[in-house]
């Protein structure tokens, strides 16, 4: 490589980096050649980092979508157990159709997207504008709704225990949040980390509903699935965050650690023991008053995105990160105290 002749000066690597990033093609070539001519380890490292970054960029669109607008597609499974259903019944921006379940799924996914965007500036499930795909009329009298790792899938219910599952906005928020969790903390769906995964979906699902209704923590019903329980349950909802174990006759949810249920069913009781962290969130929100997404919500959201939260986190691990997140965002004071007190009240001791 040609050595400099005449006026020769050393250009600091950070200047070269800037030229490589922002310069004209000629300037970039010069800067890269200069970097390559510098045999220092530092220059090598910067060069490697730039190459890696540019490789990463190639996978991203040149100008990323600005965000703020969902990209929804609703599919009809026509009562088949086919989550890959390909019959599109409503695309983004299209008007309402004659099928109530289709419109409920479309609207619910839209409300959930709006909640995440307005409150946390999160652009969809992956924060990269992932399209939202919903499947309705899954299965024959199918009494469930689920996240399959790519789509939010809704059954019509058996009419006996569960009614049309798209009718509850918090349930739609619950399913979409499973996607958010998968793209953040990725809490393992088993035992305590699985119950945390479930609880996070209830917490954000409930906030989606409160946000859509403009409710304060005091006005909210803190129920999950209100309006989709069938007559056989003799209840008002699937779960109660305010009073776990009281949503329907025989509701098995505990509200405190001393009633933690050890079982091999339900992936180790993920829908049962979620009552404990659910209640902790409720206590924080009620203690602080106002709207749940002003203080309690951001603490839980920061926790979910905290690199220190492991996939196999226990309730105790999660609680510790919430206290730290509260201190980090709001300083040591009423919020972090409320978070610590709430966990202690449900029997998860945090110093």
């Amino acid at each position: 490589m040609a050595r400099c002749v005449g006026a020769c000066f050393i250009v600091p690597p950070f200047v070269l980096e800037r030229v490589i990033r922002d310069g004209t093609p000629e300037q970039r070539e010069w800067a890269l050649a200069t970097l390559l001519d510098d045999h220092s380890i530092r220059a090598q490292r910067i060069h490697n980092a730039l190459v890696l970054r540019d490789r990463g960029r190639a996978r991203q669109p040149l100008s990323p979508a600005p965000g703020g607008h969902p990209k929804r597609t609703i599919y009809d499974a026509h009562q088949q157990q086919d989550a890959e259903a390909s019959d599109v019944v409503r695309r983004e921006g299209q008007p309402a159709v004659g099928d109530k379940a289709v419109n409920q799924a479309y609207d619910g996914l839209g409300s959930t997207y709006q909640f995440y965007w307005d409150v946390f500036h999160r652009n969809s499930i992956d924060d990269q504008g992932l399209p939202l795909d919903g499947v309705v009329h899954y299965g024959d009298h199918y009494d469930n709704a689920f996240w399959n790792g790519a789509r939010m899938v809704f059954g019509d219910g058996d009419g006996y225990t569960l009614l049309q599952t798209t009718a509850a906005i918090d349930v739609i928020g619950h399913e979409l949040t499973h996607g958010v969790t998968e793209h953040t903390a990725n809490l393992t769906y088993l035992g305590q980390s699985g119950a945390l995964n479930e609880s996070v979906s209830d917490v954000f699902g409930s906030m989606v509903k409160q946000f859509a209704l403009g409710q304060t923590s005091e006005q909210a019903d803190w129920l999950i699935g209100e309006g989709i329980v069938g007559p056989a349950l003799h209840g008002k909802a699937l779960r109660s965050m305010a009073a776990p174990g009281t949503a329907f006759e025989g509701d098995p949810q505990p509200a405190e650690m001393r009633h933690y249920v050890h079982t091999v069913s339900d992936n180790g009781g993920v829908h049962i023991n979620s009552g404990i962290p659910n209640h902790a969130f409720y206590l924080v929100a009620r203690e602080l008053g106002g709207r749940s997404w002003d203080h309690a919500g951001p603490v839980w959201y920061d926790t979910l995105r905290d690199p220190g939260l492991r996939s196999n986190a226990t309730f105790h691990d999660f609680a510790q990160v919430t206290v730290r997140a509260a201190q980090h965002r709001f300083g040591s004071g009423p919020v972090s105290n409320a978070v610590r007190d709430a966990w202690n009240q449900v029997g998860v001791t945090v110093p």
């Binding site: 699935g225 699937l238 098995p252």
Partner: protein, 98 residues
């Protein structure tokens, strides 16, 4: 022969159980159950599916004092298990799902 099916999990998290005693079945039903059991692969252990809120199925077949147990998840059921699950679920008596 006793065949027990427990379904747990799902969004609602209810546990639903059904049990069939082949001795109590009409001959045609007994033969049908045997055919369903013969067609279902109860020895494989499929990996749990991705996602969340999927049903968990725990199946027990008790025959001559020997019990065979299988756990499977909706969306990743072993071959032949779905028709057996559907048949057992359809025979479930009414009442609260617990």
């Amino acid at each position: 022969m006793l065949v027990r099916l427990q379904r747990s999990g799902g969004l609602a998290g209810f546990t639903v159980r059904s049990e069939v005693d082949s001795a109590q079945l009409a001959p045609a039903d007994r033969a049908h159950l045997e055919r369903l059991l013969g067609a279902a692969d109860l020895s494989s252990t499929p990996p749990p599916t991705r996602g969340a809120d999927r049903f968990q199925y725990d199946l027990e077949v008790e025959r001559g004092g020997r019990v065979q147990r299988t756990t499977a998840f909706d969306g990743a059921l072993p071959p032949g298990l779905q028709p057996l699950i559907d048949w057992l679920a359809a025979r479930r008596a009414g009442g609260p799902p617990r």
